[in-house]
Symmetry: C2
Subunit: 338 residues, 2 copies
């Protein structure tokens, strides 16, 4: 902060406010991060903030009132987060009078801080993953497939099991994609009975931290499904093997992409190889072609190559890993062939 | 659009994209709304967009590529939505070269369009509300209270019932606030056994449209709870009675606030009296002190006064109503005293 010559930083991402204060807003809130950071929140959220925040909480009626705060605190150069909606930014800038001296600059301050996880954060991600895996095993998906349960019934039961095992909620909306729906990486839930291939992508949230896992259950005797599964699994294993501190994220993406391209499915791998996660399910960096971040120890990322054959089916295999000096630790021991 | 002298509008809110095209994005997408509107989406979402969109779909690799689109389409003055993150805006503006002539202006174009609901939209909100109410009745909350179920078990069972009755999902995270947790308007879920007062706020989503209802179940012989319940119910009934086309939203808010203030609880009504809803659970206008919107026929809004006694308990009563010429139609017939 001193180096950048900012007097204060306005945090607007709810997970950054949680990271700083332990309070997670339910309506709107801002954290002014300076020597003594302060939360500004609505009257409606004040009691919850008072109960959960580790730092001082004040009430703010309107975003324009921030100007008074800038004056009271003698703030001249203030960093704001890039997620601030343009309309808020313009409202604040537009209300500035000639004799006011403050200026706003975009700075994604905590994004970098949050890339490296503390032992405490890693423990929470580990717990979230264990809950997610245990719940998946309790679901006994193959049995549900025989009984022709529907996609949303599966997602719903898995959600119940995860909560029952200690999760506060899902870390994102569970994907249960069956038959040709599995060729959509983010298949929306329908009311489809489970068919002969099932792609699932799910996660638990534990003390605010996310887990993220995908498995694809293919049919026993389907050669095409087996071929695609094996290619994705090879891409998965080679990317895992190539991941360690000092390596660039785009290099890992390239490992997965090369395997899949080598088999002629280059155009069918239609997303990046992975992403960092923590309080958010998607954090910086992404493990993608255009990202040049050098991995460091205690980053926590997903590895999730996939192949999607439009109108036919799709396969994705995903685990969450902790980056180490000489390799990674894959969190959990959930089998890949189910 | 012609009046405002825009060549095109960039829609970035997912629900506006759904409103125009029927496609709901799962990653990132933009709709360029001009004579022939076009969706630009990611490779990952392309198949889903092709399947569900009623308008043309193209792929866009990066937000900077929009510049090429502006050139191809000879767009000079482009409206953008206020929800666009400031970082995206700056990226696009920053990539502009000297000989490029386009400029961006903030305009919340569809917000006004979406305020008045079509008969088809009203039918969907009605269906969503019926599903939510039927499911609540099937839940038999008083029985669950006796059996000391926990808050999340109730929320979860209600979610199951709503899906079973035809909802695609909840329209927002269900609130089940018991005992002193009910004094938090947006109480986060704990793992608390149901006590002697329960405040619930829930909604179903049906074909993209939301419902929104709150009920508070007080204890039979608690005088204080009964006193507060009666005040909130009076505020609810008087606001409902005062709502019709031609009335300003702040006037309705004032009706509810005056009743509550009259009994000395002015500072305990810590949110606005209601909000419009539709594809979003919160739409423009809000029924609040500072909003001057004049109600029109076929707006659909909530009326939801509440009193929150910190550390004790809270009461909120909420229904969704359709604004008419001479009054409102309250959607559903769910009793208020349960």
């Amino acid at each position: 902060m001193v180096k950048k010559n900012f007097d204060g930083i306005l945090l607007t991402q709810f997970n950054n406010i949680k990271y700083i204060s332990n309070y997670y807003p339910t309506s709107s809130a801002i954290c002014l991060f300076k020597e003594n950071p302060v939360i500004y929140t609505t009257a409606m959220d004040k009691e919850l903030a008072d109960e959960t925040s580790l730092i001082e909480v004040k009430e703010l009626k309107s975003i324009s009132d921030l100007k008074k705060v800038f004056k009271e605190e003698s703030l001249k150069k203030i960093a704001i987060e890039g997620n601030l909606p343009i309309s808020y930014y313009k409202k604040l800038e537009g209300s500035k009078s000639k004799n006011e001296k403050w200026e706003l600059a975009i700075e994604n301050f905590l994004e970098k801080e949050r890339m490296i996880k503390s032992p405490n954060e890693i423990e929470k991600i580990r717990n979230a993953t264990n809950i997610a895996h245990k719940s998946f095993e309790e679901l006994v998906i193959r049995e549900k497939q025989e009984k022709r349960f529907t996609d949303w019934e599966i997602a719903y039961e898995l959600g119940y099991l995860m909560r029952n095992n200690g999760a506060s909620e899902e870390s994102f909306e569970t994907i249960v994609a069956t038959d040709k729906n599995s060729s959509l990486p983010h298949a929306p839930m329908g009311n489809k009975k489970l068919g002969n291939i099932i792609l699932m992508d799910w996660g638990a949230k534990y003390n605010g931290y996310c887990s993220d896992t995908s498995r694809t259950m293919i049919e026993d005797n389907d050669k095409k499904q087996k071929e695609i599964f094996d290619i994705v699994f090879e891409a998965y294993k080679k990317s895992i093997k190539g991941t360690k501190s000092g390596v660039k994220t785009c290099e890992i993406d390239n490992i997965a992409r090369s395997v899949i391209s080598g088999y002629g499915y280059k155009d069918k791998f239609i997303h990046s190889t992975g992403h960092s996660l923590g309080l958010n399910i998607h954090e910086t960096p992404s493990i993608s072609t255009q990202d040049g971040t050098v991995l460091e120890e205690n980053m926590v990322i997903t590895i999730e190559p996939g192949i999607y054959l439009e109108g036919e089916f799709g396969v994705r295999i995903e685990d969450t890993v902790i980056v180490g000096k000489n390799g990674v630790e894959v969190i959990g021991k959930l089998p890949h062939e189910i």
